[in-house]
Amino acid sequence: MNNKIALISIIIVAFVLRFFQLGSNPPALTWDEVAMGYNAYSLGIDGKDEHGNFLPFAYIESFGDFKPPVYTYLDIIPIKIFGLTPFAVRFPSAFLGVGTVFLTYFLTRRIFYNSNRKELYALSSALVLALSPWHVMLSRAAFEANAATFFLVVGIWAFIAAVSDRRWLLVLSAVSFAISLYTFNSSRITAPLLAILLAVIFYRQLFAMKKQVIVALFVGIVLTAPLVPFLLSDKASIRFQEVNIFTDLIPLERSNQEIVNDENAIWSKILHNRRLVYGFFFIEHYFDHFNPRFLFISGDINPKFSIREVGQLYLWDLPFFLVGAFVLFRKREGKWYIVPLWLLIGIIPAAIARETPHALRIESALPTFQILVGYGLVTVAFFLRSAVTKKSFRRVLLAFIFFALLGNIFYFQYHYWKHYPRRYAQDWQYGYKESIEYVNQVKDQYETIYVSEVLERAYIYYLFYLQVPPQEFRETVKLRRDIFGLIDVEGFDKYVFSRSVESEPVKDDALYINKPDRVPKNVRILKTFYMPDGTIKLVAYVY
């Protein structure tokens, strides 16, 4: 009973931290969020995406990349209910974030099934995840990764439950792993690896449940098969080519010079072999994710994933993380080995990419970090109970631990609400909404509206905030494909998107929206749009 109350409280905390003012902090929608929102809106109206593809399943083509489709589909219902608003776009991520917290409880209980502390481990892990700056940040914006993490957690939990006592959950596991492939690029590496890992670990149990295994395999293959042609196509590899470390030539040039320095000796060619060079390069990128600065001090350098004042975990999590990791190995309770193996696998996809450490790409390693911290917290509490016999002193120690944690949480929340929306508005592409609301009021007075593309991808914001009916957009859009086959929208209806609005034709019946430093001299400024910190973002003017 107490446990139920505790779990419900944790869920309430998770819910509040994720849903409170969801639409207004982070302060604006990024273009990816807007694109998913508008495509969901479009799919909800006539079952076609913005470009008119009927129920796309392999990818949704958006500017510059081919997005996995699941998040967009998840957005359809919230947008039907709440309208085309930031809150609705972010709803699935926040909702699944709370779901991940909830599932972490059951998952942790399953992992430490034979421990008499399993309830406490499960509750504290769920609590740590609920409060985690990492998970809160990623749940508060429409991140595909956050949805993918939910499906991976479902997949792993269902697998473990299936091999323990509820056999038919194996099918759910297969479905969930398959969905994760359609949710986020990194999951296309992690999900198969995790599935293989679980199959290897539990091969004995699987042999004993052949019926379920066959059904699950069948379902898994059927669900995955449609994705294969896309994964093998050029479209899928564009992005990979851009970001992966193996196309970086600098290490190769260096190893060639090293071989020259050894007078081209054969042994030198073995010593400075390029496979080894790139292998080591991979290891380096892999270990970047264990950088203490990233984990505990200032987090990811991208302010979308971290407030830059707190690490991906709280600093005060560090001792418990260490205790958790060491004692986990020491006590070896239940299926303890799943936690470190999962963590190590979760980091692999990010290590192939150039930008490391990357909090978003390794989200598939969540909630293992939090389980370790939760495990450590319980371990320390029990240790204090047995080691510190004086009750009052023990209370002081526990109070200290508690208030230090509370201090960390407060520090994070304070910065997140007070400073973050003002300081990092730029990173959230702030500024479109205000200008488009203005355009919406005055659009009937003008024949043409020129909008600066210097801020990139303005058209999708216009579609979103003007709630342009998708049919109308498809009929009037002017498209251009670049040499990579990527789509560029040059305009639709009366809107023209231009890289240099200042050199567009001067017309009496046109409105111009441009960056302040590019506004020509002889114009009449109608309105200026400000960033939260008071700098000017955009200017609306006529000649």
């Binding site: 030198s268 080591f280 290891i283 270990f287 001090i297 520090y411 007070k418």
Partner: protein, 560 residues
């Protein structure tokens, strides 16, 4: 039996020390390719002390060298005197004491670890690992004061532990630690904390000793460290270096962002924000961040600045990494002496403290006192891993119900051992290649290569010119010390002639100042030595010197 075993151990120690010696003496003075400015300064001051009893500024028997205004502890220069006396003022002679100290440290670590664990295998492997440690080799082959500090600390601990049985050793321990304070800046923070934790951990053993030994050791320790404390208190300049690199003097983007936030908090009357963005909170955060930065695995595997590691290598071998983790685990949970456990973890956790209050972290020199804890962890990890592998039953656990013998663990066991051994050999060879072959090529710029040739050429041409101007900006900073060093300029003459104008100096016909070619080209009959960018591109050079990777380093230009 006993003697036989002892002979075997002695033979192994001998081989380890021999290996340490080869790795430290081979091409000493040639690799790295040039002394850097600190080495040149320590060397010239040793030369100056040898000939005049004064440092370059004419200070009689200094305990702190003013040098470039960084106020170097002087001990290294003193111990370099014999070698400069025997071999003359050259790179080899300056580095020799460090190399010898490195070998002695390897030897001492055997006894230290044996004292701590009472296990010869752990002691032998630890000292072997130190002998081949990229970190230790890096700083044993150059005249860096930190290596002297490390050696003294290792002896300090060894004598301390011996002293718990034979108390007069405590006096030696006090002397070692006292001198360590004179060896390197970090020790001023590290040694007091280190000695304090030794005393706390071994308190009961110390309390059982005769008080007169404790009093004697204490007195000797105070006496040895007194001159340093005295000069720190009386001469505020000596703290200059500490101030220069401390976090409290930081001028980073993060710091100015913090100031902006603080201003904003004041404007909006946000009191909580004013507390959280307080300068002290910022510094505290920074110190924690700096401290933790030393557990970045990539720092261990890749090192920090180029002078602190061989190219493409770090401070440890990559194969050591898993064994370090196992070693830490074993030390935590296995049945070793409790005080040994506490002591090693204290050592490990204290080592990065001095670097934490400085900028430019992680820093391999300021944290050299980490050694030999990483090696001890690796040794523990190796021994336990090997124990685990060889405890696999001889018959082998074979997979798939014993049907496939080829997969049986019996072969697997040998495969693991062979694999680890090959990995070790490969990694070691790779390191040797990077250190002895690649380092000079890729890092000659970092080692301030080129002055030797420049000085030789200048000397050759000097009779034809009235004045010689050498740049002292950019990477020519403190170029004067290289001229003194390679000219073997008589110290007594230098002390008499030198004129110092803030950063610029002149003596005899030499002038060390930034070159302003627009003005300077009018000077008659003058020889200019500078960076390529000190002169316009089309200036005709009398002579050009390149770094070893062929990039231009130094240009010598003359006017008529």
């Amino acid at each position: 039996m006993f003697i036989k075993k002892n002979i075997k151990v002695f033979l192994l120690i001998f081989l380890i020390v021999l290996l340490a010696g080869v790795l430290r003496f081979w091409q000493l003075g040639i690799v790295p390719p040039s002394p850097n400015w600190d080495e040149a300064a320590l060397g010239y001051n040793a030369y100056s002390l040898l000939q005049t009893g004064k440092d370059e500024y004419g200070k009689v028997f200094p305990i702190i060298l003013q040098s470039f205004g960084d106020y170097k502890p002087a001990l290294y220069s003193y111990i370099a005197i014999p070698s400069v006396f025997v071999f003359g003022l050259n790179t080899f002679a300056v580095r020799l004491p460090s190399a010898i100290l490195g070998i002695i440290t390897v030897f001492a670590v055997y006894f230290l670890v044996n004292e701590l664990f009472r296990r010869r295998d752990i002691a032998l492997i630890s000292s072997f690992l130190l002998a081949i440690s990229p970190w230790h080799i890096q700083f044993s082959r150059v005249a860096f004061e930190a290596n002297l500090g490390l050696a003294l600390n290792v002896f300090g601990v060894l004598f301390f532990l011996k002293g718990l049985k034979r108390p007069w050793f405590l006096v030696l321990s006090a002397i070692s630690f006292g001198f360590s304070l004179h060896a390197y800046q970090s020790e001023k923070v590290f040694v007091p904390l280190f000695v304090l934790s030794l005393c706390v951990i071994y308190f009961s053993a110390l309390a059982a000793l005769q008080k007169k030994y404790l009093a004697l050791a204490f007195t000797v320790g105070i006496l040895v460290s007194f001159p340093l404390v005295f000069s720190l208190v009386t001469d505020s300049n000596t703290l200059g270096r500490a101030k220069g690199v401390s976090v409290f003097n930081e001028q980073s983007v993060e710091f100015s962002n913090n100031v902006i936030e603080l201003e904003h908090n004041k404007e909006t009357g946000d009191i909580i924000g004013q507390v959280l963005n307080n300068r002290r909170v910022f510094y505290a955060n920074r110190i924690v961040e700096n401290y933790l930065s030393h557990w970045d695995i990539n720092w261990l595997l890749r090192g920090d600045i180029a002078r602190h590691h061989a190219p493409e290598m770090g401070l440890i071998y990559i194969w050591e990494f898993p064994f370090i983790l196992i070693g830490i685990y074993m030390l935590l949970f296995s049945k070793f002496n409790k005080r040994t456990k506490y002591f090693i973890f204290f050592w490990f956790l204290l080592a990065p403290i001095p670097a934490s209050i400085t900028t430019g972290v992680p820093h391999a020199v300021r944290t050299l006192n980490f050694l030999p804890t990483w090696q001890i962890f690796t040794a523990l990890g190796l021994i336990s891993a090997m124990g685990l592998v060889s405890s696999i039953p001889a018959r082998g656990w074979s997979a798939f119900g014993g049907k496939y013998k080829a997969l049986s663990i019996k072969y697997f066991k040998f495969l693991i051992i062979i694999f680890i051994f090959l990995l070790f050999i490969f990694n070691f060879l790779y390191y040797l290649n990077q250190y002895f072959v690649q380092q000079n090529y890729f890092a000659s710029h970092d080692w301030q290569y080129g002055y030797k040739q420049a000085v030789e050429k200048t000397t050759e041409l000097s009779s034809e010119y009235e004045k010689i101007v050498v740049a002292n900006d950019g990477y020519f900073d403190q170029s004067y010390i290289f001229y003194l060093f390679f000219l073997k300029y008589p110290p007594e003459k230098y002390q008499r002639e030198v004129k110092i104008d803030i950063a610029n100096r002149s003596f005899e016909k030499y002038e060390f100042r930034p070159i302003d070619w627009e003005k300077d080209k009018e000077l008659k009959n003058t020889l200019f030595v500078g960076m390529p960018k000190s002169f316009p591109q089309d200036t005709d050079a009398l002579y050009e010197i390149s770094f070893i990777d062929k990039k231009p380093a130094i240009k010598i230009v003359g006017t008529e």
